[in-house]
Every structure is written in structure tokens, then in C-alpha cells.
């Protein structure tokens, strides 16, 4: 019976720098978030009938999103 070899991750995984991977992940997510926010803003401002709710709603969306993003990276971004 052959000795059991320790489990080693594939070579391509060991070559990935975790810090770089997170940077790339956040850049992609940020781009998606910006596109979503622009599309939502367009709809609120164009079809919101000049409502007083539109601007506070958009500000809340941005502030809560920023807070959650900061919370997400607060542990790893050191």
C-alpha cells in the first residue's frame, strides 16, 4: 500500500495572491454597483415625477452601500 500524499492545492491556486484577488473582486463588484446605481438613479429622476422621495432614497442607497462595503473589507484591508 502506497503512503498517502498530503493534499496539495493546484499550482494555479498557489500562484494567486489573496490581496490581489480581493482587489479584483471588489473592482468588479464596484463596477456592477456603479452601473446599477446609475440605472436606478436614471429611473428615479426620470420617472419619479419630481418626487421629494427620490433624492433621499438615492442618498440612502449610496450611504448604506458604502457602509456595508466598508464593513466587508474592514477585516481584510489592513
Amino acid at each position: 500500500m502506497e503512503p498517502v500524499a498530503p493534499l496539495a492545492p493546484p499550482a494555479f491556486l498557489t500562484a494567486i495572491n489573496p490581496a490581489q484577488a480581493i482587489s479584483v473582486l471588489f473592482t468588479v463588484l464596484f463596477i456592477i454597483w456603479v452601473i446599477y446605481t446609475l440605472v436606478t438613479t436614471y429611473h428615479w429622476l426620470r420617472y419619479g415625477h419630481n418626487s421629494a422621495v427620490a433624492i433621499p432614497a438615492l442618498i440612502t442607497h449610496v450611504l448604506v452601500s458604502i457602509f456595508l462595503a466598508i464593513y466587508a473589507v474592514s477585516g481584510v484591508a489592513r
Partner: protein, 183 residues
Amino acid sequence: MEFELEEGERVTRTVRKHWFVLLMSLVPFLLLAWVPTVLPGFLANMAGAQLSFFALMTAQNPWFRLLLGLWWLFLWIGAFNIFTQYYLNHWVITTLRIVRIRQHGFFNREVSSFLLSRVQDVSTTVDGIFADLLGYGSIRVQTAGTASQDFVMEGINDPQGMRDMIMGEIADLYKKRNATPVI
């Protein structure tokens, strides 16, 4: 604005769904946000020492916090999307017509209007304990003519009040025209 008001026409009321209907739509998001905060602890207790992996899933672990923060961000965007849909879907009642604006999704919008003079029947339904206590329900407006259509809006605040208001507007319209509605 999606439609132009005619001369002498004014907006009487803008109607959206009841806030409770919005709240009920947001409940799944609240539950999904809460689950990751309790599930790891529950599973760690269930699994005991066999799966110590669950014990690492706390807010003190930066990787777990990263995933949790991204999960909450994802849910927040979903919830905000629900609110956007709630706000942009509405009926505008004017002195001449009813305009129904439906936002099916981004860049997918349907605006339809029908004259009050074509309204044949307005009926309301209040179904359920919460609907009865909080005063919301659905309204169905049936139009006359060869291409008669039913316009339905569900979960609106005070459907009976809205029905009375529509009927009042129709009566006013016919008074102005010095004619009698045939209903």
C-alpha cells in the same frame, strides 16, 4: 412625466400600494440577512467538535465578515430594487382619466390610460385579516367599448375611498357635460 395633461385637466390623486404590502415584500430580505448571523452558531452547537469550521464563522473572522458584508450588500441592492419598483408602479387619477404606470423592470415600462367616461364598473376587494385591519385591498376598473379591459391594482390603500373618488370624478365629469352617465 409620461403623459401630458390636457387643458383644464388636473391630477386628483396618485395611488401606490399600501406600505404593509411593501413591508411583506421586504421580509424575505430581512430573513436572509439574519440567517448568516445565527446559522453558524446553531450548526457549531449541533456538530460539536467534529466540525470546528463553523466556530470560525463569527464577525471576528475577517473572511467571514467579508462574505457577510458582501451578502448584505447584495440583499440591500435587492431590497432597494423592490422599493424602486414599489414607488414607480402607480396610478394617477385625473379629472379626465386614469393613468396606470407599471414598471416591470429596468427599461421595461408600461403606461396605459383610459378615460373616466369609458368606465363601466368599479369594484373593490378586501381579502384577509391584515387587509381588513390595515385597510388595503384591490380595485378593478372595467371599461366599456368593443375593446373593453379590466384594470386591476392590488394591495392599494383604502380601495373603497378610491372607488368613491373615481365615481365622484365620473359624476363631476358628466355634470360638466350636462349629461347623465349610463351605468
